[in-house]
């Protein structure tokens, strides 16, 4: 009886941990669905579902990749630094910073469930200064305005800029001191490890063939799968004015001909 009970307990623990291990992925991949455009360092994403992951979870400034929901297209490779909170979230979580009313919400940090250390995004200087004007809290950015590419940011000095324009230097630590969270949050869902993600290390989409051109050499830009926006079609931009004008002219013509018919003796 005791043996049976112990076996049952061991089985239950293994099943539980097995399930948990299956849900977690090595690259912390997570889905987030946004109902409105959101701002990230260097890019504004339209409403839709996106996949966040860490392609290379090394120490230091960790890279976060943002892809389409099916993982085929990479939209951004973002630099982040570790940030710590007092309690780990139960679900994947995005934290937004305060922005001007009506402007797209800007994402400040990303947290994986069960971990108190998350990812705080580094914004390019110009973008950070714009966001900081209306943000309640400071915005993480590079000390110099010249360090705006991902490669330049990797080794750049960091600072936090406030709404008043003042800056405070930042020291990157693997386990920084925990801070209280500010801003609104949004939960996501864990993504399966079975999703094949784009290997691209840059935010520039790979060129593919387009449906047709008008004899003008296509640029590097792309045909990509829709990011899952609510819109189902491109807007209809043909007005009825030309058809009505033609119809009006035809009717005038017909009317004129008929009114002259008796005189023409036709």
């Amino acid at each position: 009886m005791l043996r049976t009970l112990v076996s049952a307990c061991v089985f239950a623990v293994l099943a539980f941990t097995g399930t948990t291990a299956h849900a977690q992925t090595i690259d912390d991949r997570t889905f987030f669905t946004f109902s409105q455009p959101v701002t990230l360092p260097g890019v504004t994403l339209p409403a839709g579902k996106y996949l966040f992951r860490t392609p290379d979870a090394t120490t230091g400034r960790r890279v976060v990749q943002v892809l389409s929901a099916d993982g085929t297209k990479s939209y951004a490779m973002l630099l982040s630094i570790p940030a710590q909170r007092f309690s780990a979230p139960a679900q994947p979580e995005i934290r937004f910073m305060e922005t001007a009313e009506g402007t797209p919400a800007a994402i400040k940090s990303w947290w994986y469930p069960g971990k108190t250390v998350g990812y705080e995004f580094i914004y390019p200087k110009e973008q950070a200064l714009t966001l900081a004007r209306t943000a309640t809290n400071s915005v993480l950015t590079t000390a110099s305005a010249q360090n705006d590419t991902t490669e330049e940011m990797k080794g750049a000095d960091l600072t936090r800029v406030t709404s008043s324009g003042s800056e405070a230097a930042v020291t990157v630590e693997e386990k920084p001191a925990a801070t209280a969270l500010a801003g609104t949050s949004q939960e996501g869902e864990l993504a399966s490890s079975s999703i094949q993600v784009a290997a691209s290390a840059t935010a520039t989409p790979a060129p593919v063939t387009t449906s047709a051109t008008l004899g003008i050499a296509p640029a590097d830009d792309t045909k990509q799968a829709s990011a899952g926006t609510r819109r189902t079609r491109l807007p209809q931009t043909a007005s009825s004015a030309p058809a009505l004008m033609v119809l009006g002219l035809v009717m005038l013509g017909v009317g004129s001909m008929l009114s002259r018919w008796p005189r023409l003796g036709m």
Partner: protein
């Protein structure tokens, strides 16, 4: 007698239709003048960054080589496209990073897009600054090809209108113009 009745009715209906389309054109021109004045006032006193209301003018678009020009309003509803170039609200605003999309009627504001060429300069003046783009490619796509609205890492402008240009009625396809933001270095060369 019957012929006279038909003739008069045809003439009357034809006159009504032509007047209706003429009035629409006049109203669109009046809206354009009104929007231009609103934009001048907005540039003099730029807002604190609040999102524009639907139908509010957000900029003035020009393609100098083609003679294309017109006010851009926020939104792409039918009644807005009758009087201005519309900004698709689910894409970033022109002064934000990303792929900003504008749509307009092929028989009015975007009629001359048929003659656009690669490297044509597109200029968009907004309360947040004037942005210049260079045409990189044109495409003919289906209405369901929403990938043309996908985000881009750089500031991009996507212009949308119906295709073919000579089609009478609801055109089956869409003509897309993709333009990329000109770097500051190129801007200096353009101005010199």
């Amino acid at each position: 007698m019957d012929k006279k009745w038909i003739a008069r009715t045809s003439i009357l209906l034809g006159t009504i239709l032509l007047t209706w389309t003429g009035v629409d054109s006049i109203r669109a021109a009046a809206y354009q003048r009104q929007y231009l004045q609103t934009l001048h006032n907005a540039r003099a006193t730029p807002s604190a960054g609040h999102a524009p209301a639907p139908g509010a003018p957000i900029g003035w678009l020009e393609i100098p080589r083609l003679g294309v020009s017109g006010a851009v309003v926020h939104g792409d509803a039918d009644h807005l496209l009758k009087r201005a170039i519309g900004h698709l609200p689910d894409t970033p605003l022109p002064w934000q990073t990303g792929n900003s999309a504008l749509a307009a009627h092929r028989d009015s504001f975007f009629r001359r897009l048929r003659d656009v060429r690669s490297n044509d300069v597109v200029r968009l003046a907004t309360p947040h600054g004037t942005f210049e783009y260079r045409v990189r490619e044109t495409l003919v796509v289906d209405p369901e090809d929403l990938w043309v609205l996908d985000p881009t890492p750089a500031r991009t402008l996507t212009l949308i209108t119906c295709y073919p240009f000579n089609y009478i009625g609801s055109a089956p396809r869409r003509f897309i113009v993709r333009a990329e933001s000109i770097t500051s270095r190129e801007q200096v060369r353009l101005q010199s």
